[in-house]
Symmetry: D2
Amino acid sequence: MQFASDNWAGASEPVMEALLRHNGGFVPAYGSGDLCEAIEKRFQDIFETECAAFVVATGTAANALGLSTATGPGGTVFCHKEAHIRVDECGAPEFLSSGARMWGLDGNLGKITPDAILRGLKEVPHGVVHHGQPSAISLSQATEYGTAYSVSEIADLASCAHANHLKVHMDGARFANAMLAIDATPAEMTWKAGVDILSFGATKNGAWCAEAVVFFNPADASDFIYRRKRAGHLFSKMRFVAAQFEGYFEKDHWLDNARHSNKMASRLVAGLEASPIARPAWPSQSNEVFAIIKKTSAEKAKHKGAIFHDWPSTGLAPEDRPADDEELFRLVCSFATRPQDVDAFLQAIND
Amino acid sequence: MQFASDNWAGASEPVMEALLRHNGGFVPAYGSGDLCEAIEKRFQDIFETECAAFVVATGTAANALGLSTATGPGGTVFCHKEAHIRVDECGAPEFLSSGARMWGLDGNLGKITPDAILRGLKEVPHGVVHHGQPSAISLSQATEYGTAYSVSEIADLASCAHANHLKVHMDGARFANAMLAIDATPAEMTWKAGVDILSFGATKNGAWCAEAVVFFNPADASDFIYRRKRAGHLFSKMRFVAAQFEGYFEKDHWLDNARHSNKMASRLVAGLEASPIARPAWPSQSNEVFAIIKKTSAEKAKHKGAIFHDWPSTGLAPEDRPADDEELFRLVCSFATRPQDVDAFLQAIND
Amino acid sequence: MQFASDNWAGASEPVMEALLRHNGGFVPAYGSGDLCEAIEKRFQDIFETECAAFVVATGTAANALGLSTATGPGGTVFCHKEAHIRVDECGAPEFLSSGARMWGLDGNLGKITPDAILRGLKEVPHGVVHHGQPSAISLSQATEYGTAYSVSEIADLASCAHANHLKVHMDGARFANAMLAIDATPAEMTWKAGVDILSFGATKNGAWCAEAVVFFNPADASDFIYRRKRAGHLFSKMRFVAAQFEGYFEKDHWLDNARHSNKMASRLVAGLEASPIARPAWPSQSNEVFAIIKKTSAEKAKHKGAIFHDWPSTGLAPEDRPADDEELFRLVCSFATRPQDVDAFLQAIND
Amino acid sequence: MQFASDNWAGASEPVMEALLRHNGGFVPAYGSGDLCEAIEKRFQDIFETECAAFVVATGTAANALGLSTATGPGGTVFCHKEAHIRVDECGAPEFLSSGARMWGLDGNLGKITPDAILRGLKEVPHGVVHHGQPSAISLSQATEYGTAYSVSEIADLASCAHANHLKVHMDGARFANAMLAIDATPAEMTWKAGVDILSFGATKNGAWCAEAVVFFNPADASDFIYRRKRAGHLFSKMRFVAAQFEGYFEKDHWLDNARHSNKMASRLVAGLEASPIARPAWPSQSNEVFAIIKKTSAEKAKHKGAIFHDWPSTGLAPEDRPADDEELFRLVCSFATRPQDVDAFLQAIND
């Protein structure tokens, strides 16, 4: 009954097998080997375009280094006020970009809107040296609320951003889960809708530590190899990240993993909806479920071994917030979550 | 016949086995699991002291983040002018420390001396705001020339450094190889000799990507977890680095690996000494061998499949430099180098 | 009729006279001369304590360098969401601190409260590496709304901050105006109430370019000379800043200047209160006045040569906002504003 | 008898007069006033080209901000190993460029050569991620040795730099002195010879604090206003810097000042050449003189009130170094140095 986070799981089997497969022999260091080149090609196939893809090993590095290419002196990134880049990365985007600001916007269920961007541009307009340079928007797909932008929502945001000379960054830590949730192809959900820079996450969905920064306008990446190295993110035995991607992409394994964790989340939601003492706080669209549960029941489940985190309910409208005897919780499913884990959890709170 | 670098090998078997062993099940993310705690304890056992050890995944991160704790505004690090941190890390130490300078010192065969430090302190003395703050020395063990400092050489450097209010950093990318070369214990080669901060490398000696920053005065590390995260170097599935270390340390596997690669280097040296058309450029003490070889012979070996790099001979005294028909090369042995590879290489150049 | 900003004035007479007085002769560079030392002593007299005072030449440098001493890796500064450091300094506090975040808090009329700080600490709590390190609060005195914190308000904020291990920074760009508004001594408004670091502004109140970073715990400033130099803010002919301060402090000239500009603001407020087509938007306490004026009248005044800026009314409660035919404006008085300028402006809008 | 540095003088009369002249009245802040615009135009006249000129207030800011525009991630600047930017600015170029390295080159009498650049490019070649990005060369005109590059030397350096995709920066802290020494026009000594970015210094030659970063390819300056502000170097009462430049340029006052200080230096050199106990260490070409003086005589002069600094003689060939009873000293003349000061000094050492 482990629902703390999808990064509590290890690597899934095909990923480990690929690692084993590529362990022997000598391979040029620092990403010059055949496997590393094949992986970049694989990204181009998956995204159906001549993108530039750079492998890194943490989502924080992917986000911060990717955004750093879009933010010059005094750069400002508009994002949801609860975005991971603004709240959860210890200032890495600010540090690795030499001081860019993550400008928080309000938005329902973790989503920003073109209107919010325009309000942000009133606070940080173009051409006023004191306010700095508006540089980019960043959207999390899936969002920090487990919701997912539709393709047309992304296109609207991108269109507003581009009309205002802002680059479009997508934090895709849970890219596959969102993609399946909205039933889009990788291309549709990104460059076809206007995304310029993507943090493509694999770690939460079955890899050990495999992320990529994907540039849909390769010219934006002209100095990226130096950015990556300067921040200490170029691996000598790079093939171990590349191998993870090989296993991850093989026979659509990544989609299988995401489909599974989404399905486990749906099972959880169904159970919550049927429960007399709990309910989904809002409609989940990915592998994250936010549930309002009676405090005593949640305590009981924890005693029985369920692991899951409290969550601040400040993002909810007052009328939707937990009652005094209730609390908001986050429950995350992963490729390793089993149906019986979900059922056991539901039984534990309902007992 | 692969002698390009020790990072062209993959992970050694016990390391992969540990990864496999720890793959299943759920483990708290970001290093809070039992395994991660056990690894820190393991470092304390190995170094026989209550050190603080922080796992990262690249040597560049270990060096740059470690040094950043020792360098305030205008900070200056004295190191050999050919030190990896000064020449080969794309400015990462400068960037991650917000502008510290790596101040190059002359020195024979890759080693700095107390005299060189004192000369450096004349150029960047304490208390002159224009020159910045002298902050630390950094020594590479083994050095960029494949040589190793003796314990008393380290102690002399550290004593000079501490007398001048400088921290002592050791770049131990090839720590185990150097340790065996000088027949010292981990403690003797570090804190007992005065080292304050150590970049402990495992990647070149059998891990995929496992390095640690070890602080022998834990107070120096008070904000290190924030430095690591802010630079994007905190891994969510941290156990995969910890597991590498488990395999690496188990049954002295790391020493076996280093002993082997040193031995292969010795075999290579012996062969070079016996060769009519090649010779060691200077006495090697680790797994790196620098050889002066007749150009035509080196070409021949390359055609037969030997892989090794040219090396600048500017570090040699004029009388020791290659003749016109010769060239200097670097040959690196790893845990995966086999005796027959060495012999084949020697035969290839001698043929 | 110039009310655009107090920095549209030049230097006041005693400041220029001091500059002239100190122009001749040779003086050691970089602040080692007698005058520079005398000025530090002068700060200690004025603040009745052994503070450390460092002269810089812009308010942005004073704020950003001062805050950088209080913010380690992942550092976070809690401030009003419209604070100058967060909105108007092009990311200088973020850049010069290597990535600290300015965390915006809500607050009425430009003031933050202990409650807001505690709410901020829920978002960025101590000890969670992902959220970074809560480091300091920063309050603007006078505020961006022309209001001033009372001594007891400052003491309450500082007490809350210190209880939560946060340093207290005061942005005193309009220090003298605020001090007179609340009738406090320099000591009472700062260290006696708990302020640790002060940006002491003189530029807006009669100097050319004279600011100081004042540390009430001199140990906090141990590396400040390096911070200042590393950012390019150490002047060779430092005496020209010191001389400005000599003239500024002489015979309480600085208080005379501030008293005058506050008085001009009061005259303006009285006129607005008496006006049929305008009113103060809220009670001003310094030399900044925020006025709601009928649009047509404001236009008329502008045509007659009055210079003043529109201001966003988003900070006002809906019921206090301008009506459709009105607009919010900011009017700033300086030492150089004459009563007849104020009267002419009032006549221009009332006509 | 003050020869410590040219920055021990105050501002020259025409500079102070211009300041006084522009003190009254209201002027738009942050450089938008007429005077500021006129000054940029003045730079274009003086340099006979449509350059972009940005006023700052310290030479360190001018150098570091100017260079930051030319150095991307891992950027490397080739300069003389004793260049001010490498030795005397407390790491400001490294800090304000987010980690660029100042790569020291050997060179006779403070000058770098095309050969030295090519040697540097062997150490930091293009396209090797570990070594970073070779970005620019920086030459000091006049040099740290008081010598000046001829126009053809500059052209050769620039041609070598451009052929190797390096920008050309000139540190012109003593621009006017060098220009007169080599009898060139501003245009000839800069863009016509290939200089891209110039730090134009006025402070040492009669201003209080007036420097400019001049871009001869204005496109290089596209984000410079944000760089300047982000580092805290945008002044609100900018006219006080602009006014200094007005006085400085008026009726060729700047040339008069530099001609005078050069002449005083020549008088000093002539005296040293005639002296039995002292001699010029090498031919001076600007307002800095380096003299080898008998220690006892130098001591005597100091007791009589002469102020001047010791200088390291490490830059001299062994045969040119001071004898055991001699020492190397630096003597700097300024616009305020009088012939009688020079004569008094000469008499003091000769007595």
